[in-house]
Every structure is written in structure tokens, then in C-alpha cells.
Symmetry: C2
Subunit: 345 residues, 2 copies
DNA sequence: TTGTAGGCGTTATCAA
DNA sequence: TTGATAACGCCTACAA
């Protein structure tokens, strides 16, 4: 475990450490004579010198590190966002420091603490719940915090999110255009902006057609396959009349719901249409291939990272709020209503 | 952006910085009188003091950070590994510093450089290709490097991998037990240990039954859906006789292959059986649900992280090589051969 | 062009 | 039990 310092490089090159420092710094290396520059360079490579970014960071007040707070690596919709963040950071020579919250507020708070303590240069939070505002605001006193994917009501923090209201609207209009009038929702938690927006947009879309939804479930736990299954079971058991179409707030919920409906003898899309959300990897390979709302998540990740970087350079910048437009992708989990009765209402 | 230092806490508490440091350190806080300890604690909370982990790291020669090198966030099989790593690190108060390679050796080298420069306390590499040995060995001179998921032939580095030979064997025996004798492979790159092992295990399994595979493709690019599709197309077009079963080196390749076969008029599992690998999320929701090899990836991630942590404490520890046992999961993408001709051989 | 000195925030060591 | 001091590795005024 050799650890070569600038000091040793300088000694080998027979110059003062500060000279070595200059010679190695790409920005001011020409303040040094070509001869010594080469001498130092040679010594550095000979010794296998790696500048200690930590020490440099301490000196310069920057760690070259951006905190990223996500719910969970296994949640497929995080993957493209992370990729976008990573790609943008890596171009700038920074690295992401990632923490998971498992959608728990306590963990989020701990994650923020860690990140602040580690002196991340900025933090990108994709896992915010409404109750997390105080913790996030506190962290934002120390360093720039960017809200990504999930937003906070009335926040002044810079935000890069999907336009989830629009997404919900698209879902509703699609179902309406297929003649569905008995519809329900299998949704995410009610304290998460993206789900709140999806729900609002969806209802707005129904309202345009004079429809009121039968029922709207809200996930009590992590909005994954299991929760989708559970909520769909509830729906089937408790609803006064069965819907002909369902809007699931993400593709995983949709997958779980399809299972539950199948077990109840409802086939998708013959008996029940389902719209998912995210267009995550493999959404087109499920059975049936999912009609869903596609999100520019990779792009969102890039934007969030770039925003973070720009905030480092000029801290006073007014906080932008970006909302990226979603897109409907029609596949085979939705179909026109079959029964006349449904059309009549 | 308030930044409170230990110095200011000490001043407010009317003690020397070193005393404040002691009072705040959980390990030696009882070397300090209860009175001053409380005084300092109070001052710290009053000021909202957050210890600067970077400075501490500089002093102690540890950053509390573990580098993790993966191919790509979007590759589903990385997700559970990352989760495992994160969970273990978070328990110990450390954080992962993640870099993507996109399976390119050049990027891997850059990632290692970054991580070494950032003085990660250790690095977990899950993206190794055979040609990366020099770069990885170099990094290992500076800090502990753990090989995870993918191994390196003849390496002395600590390794936590799946027993992919066994996995290939399980796949072969399963197909043989269903009566298949004309089989082929849609595999990953030939310079990646996991794929090499899967291939070797698979052939060994065939050999037991006296079978030689028709053909074995090797992915030229990232082993994802598209590559699976491409390789399966090649197989259909170029093979002298069509196989009745295929072993895909991961579930994504399998998904792509199923598409290609479907386009060629071959239905799975009626005309062709397919075994995948990984049992990634949603493997059971594909159409058809995938017969595959399940890997304890979360566990692997945990082990890798714990190994890294243990190596920090006692650097001289002999390097263990762990191989975790895979498990066959039978679903509906495999079925007995239909034709007598196939059984005869 | 190069050397000197001081400090980024902590903590380990030594002395009181 | 507490205080003083130095050092972790680097960078940057400033002086020479």
C-alpha cells in the first residue's frame, strides 16, 4: 500500500514541494520552466504519484463529490436517473456518493447527515416525501440541494422533475378514448409529489369526460410488485362494481396488479385495461406488454447533475424548476371496452 | 452555507479544541469530565456543528468511503449487489463511491484512478474483464481491492463470486433432463469470467449426457436485450440445424432471444426452450416467465462489503475466495422436447 | 521562475 | 482531566 506524497516527488525531482505542485497543476504548470516541469513529471510517474484529492479538497473547500439520495437501487426507475447523474459527473471529474433511504424518512435524514458531514459539494435528492421538508431544508443551509424526480410543495429549492400531472392526464385521456368509464387507480403514497401529481392529472383527465373514478388506492409501503398485487386484491374484493380500466402509478405496481387480476379471473386487456407509468426496462417484455407513460429519466439525471455543477460555480443562481414532458406509449395492456353497458355508464 | 468548525464549538464551550474533539468522540468521550462533555455537546448542537469527515479522514488516513466499480446502473443484475454493498456499508457508517465502466476497459482504468486519488479505503470491482488485470493489480498496490461477481484467472486478490460453473451445469442438466439434445448458447463476452464459467459448466453438463452443443455465440457488446436479439437472429440464420433449446448467459439476453425467435416463428417453449441466468427482477413476469438460474446477489454484495471492511482492519489477512451456490428456478420458458427425432439425436 | 510560510479541520501525542 | 502542539497532504499568496 504505497502512498506517495507530493513531498517525495519534490524530493526526487530536487525541487520544492510548491514547485512540484505547480508543475503538476494543469492550470498553472506554465508558471514553471519546461525543464523542471518535465523533471517533476518524470519523478511523479516514476513514483506512481496520485494526488490526494482529499487533502486538496480540504484545502480548496471542495470534495469533488456529489451526494445522491435515492430510495433503492433495486427500484428500476432509479436506474436511468443514476446513469444520467453519473455520466454528467464523470465528464466533470466528480463522483456520486450514493445513499439509499428505502423510502423511510428516518433513513433520509441520516443520509443527508452523512452527506453533509462528508462535505459533498451538493446533494441531489430523488427520494423526498412531504414530511422530509425540514430535514432537507436544514441540509440546504449547508450546501446546494437539488430536488429531482420528487418535488416538495412550495419549495424554493431548485427542482428537476417529470411533469407528472401531464402524465396522469395522458393516462386518463387514453383510457377515455378507449371508451372506459369505470376506472380506478392503484397509486403510490399520498405524501410523494410524483404520485400526488399523477393522481391529480388523472382525475383532471377523467373530469374532462365527466367521469369520477370508482376508487383510488394509495400504497402504504414501497410501491413495488407486491404492493401492486395487494392493492389490486383489495380493489377486487372491496369495490362495489369492478372497473374496466386501472391506472397504476408505476410499472411495478402494474405488474403486481396484473397478477392479482389474473388470479381473480380478470384477463388483461380483455377484461381489464391497465396503464402503467415509467416505461421502465422490460416494460415492453411483460405479459402483456405494458401501455405506459414514458419518462425522460436519463435526461432528468443529466439535468440534475448539471444543475448541481452550475450551482457550485455560482451559488447565487436563482433556483430553476424544470418539468420534463412525459409521453404515452401504447402497447397491449389496454384495449377498448368490450361491453355496451360500460360505454353507457 | 454555514460551516461551523470544531474551533467555534470549543470557543462557545470555553474549552480547548482538543478537549472539544475528545468530548465529541464516542470512543474517548469519557476521558472528559461529564460537565465539560455536556457543555461541549450543548455548544455543538446549538451551533449545528457537523464534524468535517474529510478533515478527519486526512488526519486519520481514512476516508470512510468504499469505491464500487460497476458496469452500468441500468444492468439489473447489478442492483441487488449494490443494495447489499450499501446496506453493509451504511451499517458501518461508510458510503459507497460508485463509478460505471460501461464495460469498457479504458473507463475502468479511469474509474480506478479516480478512486485511488480520492483515497477510497478499498475498492470493490464487479466489472473486471481479463484484460483489466494490470490496471486492477496496480490499484491494489495502493489499497485493498476486492473482486466481486467477476473474477480474474489466477488472481491473488480476494474474490466473492457466484459459482457460475455450477450455474452452467444446472442449466445443462435441466435441459438434458427435458430431453433436449440439440442445444446452443447465447453467451456473454469471452473475456469475462462469469460468462466463461457459465459456458464451461454448461458444456460439462452436456458432456455428461454425451452431447456437443451446436453453437455458442459470444456477445460482442453489452450483454443486454439488443445483443440477445442480435445473437439469436444470427443463430437462426446461420445454424445448420436449429436447436430445440438455448442457454442464455443472462436474463436480458434471454429476453432478446425470445423476441428474435418469435419473429422467426419459433415459439417459446413450444418450439424452443430457453434458460436464462440471474433471476433478475421481473424475470418471473416476462412472457413466458423465465426458467433461470437464481443468484444470491444481495448476499454477494453484503459479503463483498464486509470483506472490504475486514480488510481495512487487518490488511494482512489472507485473501479468501468465496463462490456462492446458484439455484435453478424452473418456470415456463423450458419444456420437454416435442419431436422424437430430437430425442434420438 | 522558484522558495517560504501558513492554513484547510481534525485528532494523536505529550506535557501540565 | 485539560491544554498545547504538530501533523495529515495539498495549495496559494507573497517574497525573493
Amino acid at each position: 500500500m504505497a502512498k506517495v506524497t507530493l513531498f517525495e516527488v519534490a524530493k526526487l525531482a530536487n525541487v520544492h514541494p510548491s514547485t512540484a505542485s505547480r508543475a503538476l497543476s494543469p492550470t498553472i504548470s506554465r508558471e514553471v520552466s519546461e525543464a523542471t516541469r518535465l523533471k517533476v513529471l518524470e519523478a511523479a510517474t516514476a513514483l506512481g504519484y496520485r494526488p490526494n484529492v482529499v487533502a486538496r479538497g480540504l484545502r480548496q473547500g471542495r470534495t469533488g463529490t456529489i451526494g445522491v439520495v435515492i430510495t433503492d437501487f433495486e427500484h428500476l426507475y432509479n436506474a436511468p436517473v443514476l446513469r444520467g447523474v453519473e455520466v454528467s459527473l464523470e465528464e466533470a471529474g466528480l463522483m456520486p456518493l450514493v445513499a439509499e433511504t428505502h423510502d423511510s424518512s428516518k433513513r433520509l435524514e441520516r443520509a443527508l447527515d452523512h452527506l453533509v458531514g462528508r462535505r459533498a459539494d451538493a446533494i441531489i435528492v430523488t427520494a423526498a416525501r412531504f414530511g422530509d421538508e425540514p430535514a432537507i431544508t436544514k441540509a440546504a443551509q449547508f450546501l446546494p440541494v437539488i430536488l429531482a424526480v420528487r418535488t416538495l410543495p412550495g419549495t424554493r429549492l431548485p427542482t428537476v422533475a417529470h411533469d407528472d400531472f401531464e402524465g396522469g392526464l395522458l393516462a386518463a385521456r387514453h383510457l377515455v378514448s378507449l371508451g372506459h368509464r369505470r376506472v380506478a387507480e392503484i397509486g403510490g403514497a399520498r405524501d410523494v409529489s410524483s404520485f400526488v401529481q399523477r393522481r391529480a392529472g388523472f382525475r383532471a383527465g377523467l373530469k374532462e369526460a365527466g367521469i369520477v373514478e370508482l376508487r383510488s388506492e394509495g400504497a402504504a409501503r414501497v410501491p413495488g410488485i407486491e404492493e401492486g398485487y395487494r392493492l389490486a386484491c383489495e380493489l377486487v374484493e372491496e369495490a362495489a362494481e369492478l372497473p374496466t380500466a386501472v391506472f397504476a402509478h408505476n410499472d411495478l405496481l402494474a405488474a403486481g396488479a396484473i397478477d392479482a387480476f389474473a388470479e381473480a379471473g380478470l384477463r388483461c386487456p380483455d377484461d381489464i385495461s391497465i396503464v402503467g407509468y415509467d416505461d421502465m426496462v422490460l416494460a415492453d417484455h411483460l405479459s402483456p406488454p405494458l401501455t405506459t407513460i414514458r419518462l425522460p429519466s436519463f435526461h432528468l439525471g443529466r439535468l440534475a447533475a448539471e444543475l448541481a455543477l452550475s450551482l457550485l460555480d455560482k451559488p447565487g443562481t436563482p433556483a430553476p424548476r424544470v418539468a420534463l414532458p412525459p409521453e404515452l406509449v401504447v402497447r397491449r395492456s389496454t384495449a377498448p371496452v368490450r361491453t355496451v353497458e360500460a360505454r353507457v355508464g
